[in-house]
Amino acid sequence: MSTTLPFAQTETPTNYLNADYGWKSWLFATDHKRIALLYLFSITVFFFIGGAFAVAMRINLLTPEGLFTHDTYNKLFTMHGIIMVFFFLLPSIPATLGNFLVPIMIGARDLAFPRINLLSWYIYIVGGIFTLTAVVQGGVDTGWTFYAPFSSSYSNTHVILAAMGIFVSGFSSILTGLNFIVTIHTMRAPGMTWHRLPLFIWGQYATGLIQVLGTPVIAITMVLLGLERVLHAGIFDPTLGGDPILFQHLFWFYSHPAVYIMILPGMAVINEIVACFSRKAIFGYSFVAYSSIAIAVFSFLVWGHHLFVSGQSMYASMVFSFFSFLVAIPSAIKVFNWTATMYKGSVSFETPMLYAFGFIGLFTMGGLTGLFLATMAIDVHVTDTYFVIAHFHYVMVGGMVMAYMGGIHFWFPKISGRLYPEGWAKFAALLVFVGFNLTFFPQFILGYQGMPRRYAHYAPEFQVLNVMSSAGASILAVGYLIPMIYLAWAWRYGPKSPQNPWNAKGLEWEQSPTPPPTFNFDHQPVVTEPAYNYSGEEQEVESGG
C-alpha cells in the first residue's frame, strides 16, 4: 500500500488493520503485526484445547476411583502437556507480543526477515496439525516427556505423529528467535543503544538465544525417537543394548532451557507494566538486563536436576543441584528490582498492573518451590509427585500466563485501537488469581503427602485436597473465559483508544500511532533518552526525518 503523507487527518487513518482487506492480505501478510495476530488467534485456539483437557482431568480427579478409563486419562494428561507446552506456552509471548512490539520498540519498520516470520507461523500450524491429528486419531499416552523405553517400544498410540508435530513446531520457535536476535542487533533506530533498550527487548533477546541453541536438540531427539519406533535398532532399549537414560538427557537438555523460553518473555512484559504503572524507571536497569542473559546461560547447565532419582551419578547430581540454585539468583534479582521500582513511585491499579502483582507474588512462590526441588534430598521425596506439578504451574500459569494476560491488556489499545472494559477485566483478573491459588496450592500439600503425578486414580486420603483443586479449576476456567469474551467484543465495539491511554513511555506509545500504520512510524525515530524516562529528567525524544 502506498500513502505518501503522514497519517491523513481523516476519520479512519490508514493503519495496519485497514491497510488491506481479504483473506489473502492476512494469510500472505509479511507485516509483523499481522503475523502477530495470526499467532494470537491460533495460540488462543490451542490454549482452549489444552485447557479443555485440563478440565477433563480435574473432573476425573474429583473422586479417588476416577471417571474415565486409565488409558483415556493417560492420554488426557499427555495431550494437555504437549499442547500447552509446545503450542501455547513456548510461542505465546514471543510470537504474539514479541512479533508485534520488537520492531516498534526499537524503532524499526519490521523484523529483519518478514517472510521468514510468516513461514514460522505456517510451520507452527503444520506442527499443530500433526499433533491435532494424533489427538483426533486416538491420542498419545506417553506423557509430554516421552520417556523411553515406554515411548519407543511399548506405547501403542500415535507417538510418531505427535513427535513429528513437536519436531516441526520447533523450527517455528527457532526462526522466531533467529529473527529477533538479528533484528535487535542490526535494526535499532539511531540513538537506540543497547542500554537504552526497553527491558522487554533484553528479555526477548535472551529468549531468542535459548530458542536457537536449545530447540534443535529436541528436534533431533524427536527424530531419533521416531526412527527408533520404526526400526527398533535399540538406541534407547536396554534389551537391545541401548540406554533409556540417554533419552532423558537428550530430552531435558532442551526441555529445561525451554521453561526459560517460557518465563523470560513473561518477565520481559512485567518490566514494561511495572514501570508504566509506577510511573518510574525500573530500579537497577543493568542488573535486570544482564539477569536475563544470565538466566539464558545458566539454563543450559541444570538439566540433570530432572534426573536426580534416575540413577545418575551422585556427583553429577551435585553439580546440577548447585547450578539449579544459581539460576534462581538472577530471577530473584528481578523480583527485588520490580519491588524496588514501586518504592516512591506513583502506583495505579489498572488491570495490567493487577496481573503484574499476581505475577510477582506467584512467580516468587513458584520460584522458591524450585529451590525445594533443587535441594536433592527433598527432590528425592517430591519429584514425580504433585509438588512438581504445583511448582511448574505456579511459574507457568501463575507467572507466565498472568504476564501474558497483563501484556495483552496493556497493549490491547495499541494493537486494536480500542479500549477494553476495565471493570470486567479487573473482575476476571481477580477470578484468575483466586481460582489459580485454589487449584494449585493444595497440590503442594498433596505432593509432599506423597500423591504421585499422572495418576488416574489415587488413594482415598488425598480426596479432600483434590476436590479443592478441582473447585479452583472451575473458577480459573471462568476467569479465562471472561476476557476472551470482552476482548473479542471490545475489538469490534470497544471505545476508540487515544494515542497513549496509559501515558506510557516507549517508542511504541510515543512515536507510533495507535494502531500503528503498516511501517510503524510516520517519521524515523531518533532516540536521545534512556528507557522509562518517566521523571523527564533527560532530554525528550526528538523526532526527525
Binding site: 534389551t239 533409556p244 540454585f325 523480583v335 527485588f336 522458591l368 534430598a377
Partner: protein
C-alpha cells in the same frame, strides 16, 4: 484419619531428617514470600497514585550496595540449603557396607515383585523389621518405573537394564503406601502396594511362616548348577575362568586395565554379556552369553548365591562408586 498434617507418616529416622530440611525451606520460603508480598502491598498502597495529575516521581536508577546485598544474602542461604540437601542425599543413597538386610524388588507392568533372601516372595507387599538397615535392590522387567515410599521420603527410578539401590532404617511399625512414581502405562496408578514395618520379633515370626522354594541362595545355587556355571567358576578351573569365591563386594581388575567393583550390576552384566568386562588374565569368548535365557528374578537369585560365596570383607570399598555404578545392559 486423625489430625490433618502436611507431613505423611514417618517410617524411618531418615524421614524425619528430610522433614527437618523441608521445614527449614518452608520457613525461609515463607519468610521470603511474606517479605515480597508485604513489600509490594505496602508500596502499592503507600505510594498509590491519588489523581491523574500527580507529579511524576523522581527516578531512582539503582543502588549497587542493595543489588549486592540481595544477591549475596540469598546465595548464602542457598548454600546452606545446597549443603544440607547434598549431605542428606548422599546419606540416603549410600547404603551401609555391612549388615544390610537385602531385599530384591522387580517392577513390571503393573506390579512389584518382592523377593526375600530367605526365599519368600510377595506381590505388592514389603515386610521389614524395625532397627535393621534395609537395602532394596531394584530391577525392572520392562519400562522405567519408580519405587516410592512416601513414609520414607525416598524413591528411586527402576530402570530396565540396570540395578538401582537405596536403603533405609525402619523405625516405626505400621503400614505405609508404596507407589509407582514413574509413568509406565495404563496401570501406572494401580501399581501400588504396602510396606509393613514390624517389630523384630513379629518379623521373625513372619519369616518363619516360610517359603516353599527355599532361600534365594538355595534357588540361586540350583540355577548355578542348571546353567553349568559350576563347571567353571567355583574354583579357578584350569585358568579358563576366574573363581567366584571371595569376589563379590571387592574390586576386580579387568583386562583393559580398569578396576571395577564386583557388585550386583557387575554380576548381572557378566552373566548377560560376558565379554563386556573380562577379568585380567582371562580370555574373551569362553563364557557363554546368557542374554535372553535367564529372567530378572533368576538373575537376582544367582546374584544372591554369588554374594554368599564371599564372606563380608573387612576393608571398606568406595561406597559412592558401589551405589552409583550401573551398567548399561
Amino acid at each position: 484419619m486423625g489430625v490433618f498434617s502436611i507431613f505423611p507418616a514417618r517410617a524411618s529416622v531418615g524421614a524425619g531428617q528430610v522433614d527437618a530440611l523441608y521445614t527449614f525451606l518452608l520457613v525461609v520460603g515463607g519468610a521470603m514470600t511474606a517479605l515480597i508480598f508485604a513489600s509490594v502491598f505496602f508500596f502499592a498502597v503507600r505510594y498509590r497514585r491519588k489523581s491523574p495529575n500527580d507529579p511524576a516521581p523522581k527516578a531512582i536508577h539503582g543502588s549497587l550496595p542493595l543489588e549486592i546485598t540481595w544477591t549475596v544474602l540469598p546465595f548464602l542461604v542457598m548454600l546452606v540449603m545446597f549443603a544440607w540437601g547434598t549431605k542428606l542425599y548422599f546419606q540416603n543413597y549410600t547404603p551401609p557396607l555391612h549388615d544390610t538386610l537385602d531385599i530384591y524388588i522387580t517392577g513390571k507392568q503393573w506390579m512389584w515383585k518382592v523377593q526375600y533372601p530367605t526365599g519368600q516372595r510377595e506381590i505388592n507387599e514389603l515386610h521389614v523389621p524395625v532397627g535393621r538397615s534395609v537395602k532394596l535392590i531394584l530391577a525392572s522387567e520392562d519400562v522405567i518405573h519408580s519405587f516410592y515410599v512416601p513414609a520414607l521420603r525416598l524413591k528411586h527410578d527402576v530402570v530396565p537394564g540396570s540395578y538401582q539401590t537405596f536403603w533405609f532404617e525402619p523405625a516405626e511399625p505400621g503400614r505405609y503406601h508404596i507407589f509407582c512414581a514413574e509413568y509406565c502405562g495404563t496401570g501406572h496408578s494401580d501399581m501400588g502396594g504396602w510396606m509393613t514395618v514390624m517389630t523384630p520379633s513379629d518379623y521373625e515370626n513372619w519369616l518363619a511362616g516360610g517359603s516353599g522354594g527355599g532361600s534365594m541362595v538355595e534357588q540361586g545355587a540350583k540355577l548355578f548348577q542348571q546353567y553349568g556355571c559350576v563347571t567353571c567358576h567355583v574354583t579357578d578351573h584350569e585358568g579358563r575362568c576366574p573363581s567366584l569365591l571371595n569376589v563379590f563386594g571387592r574390586p576386580v581388575v579387568l583386562d583393559d586395565g580398569r578396576t571395577v567393583m564386583a557388585d550386583e550390576a557387575y554380576v548381572r552384566e557378566s552373566i548377560l554379556n560376558p565379554n563386556a568386562k573380562v577379568v585380567k588374565g582371562y580370555k574373551h569368548d569362553i563364557m557363554p552369553v546368557f542374554e535372553g535365557q535367564i529372567g530378572e528374578e533368576g538373575l537376582l537369585q544367582l546374584i544372591v548365591y554369588v554374594k554368599s560365596l564371599s564372606p563380608p570383607t573387612a576393608s571398606p570399598a568406595k561406597p559412592a562408586a558401589a551405589a552409583a555404578k550401573r551398567s548399561p545392559k
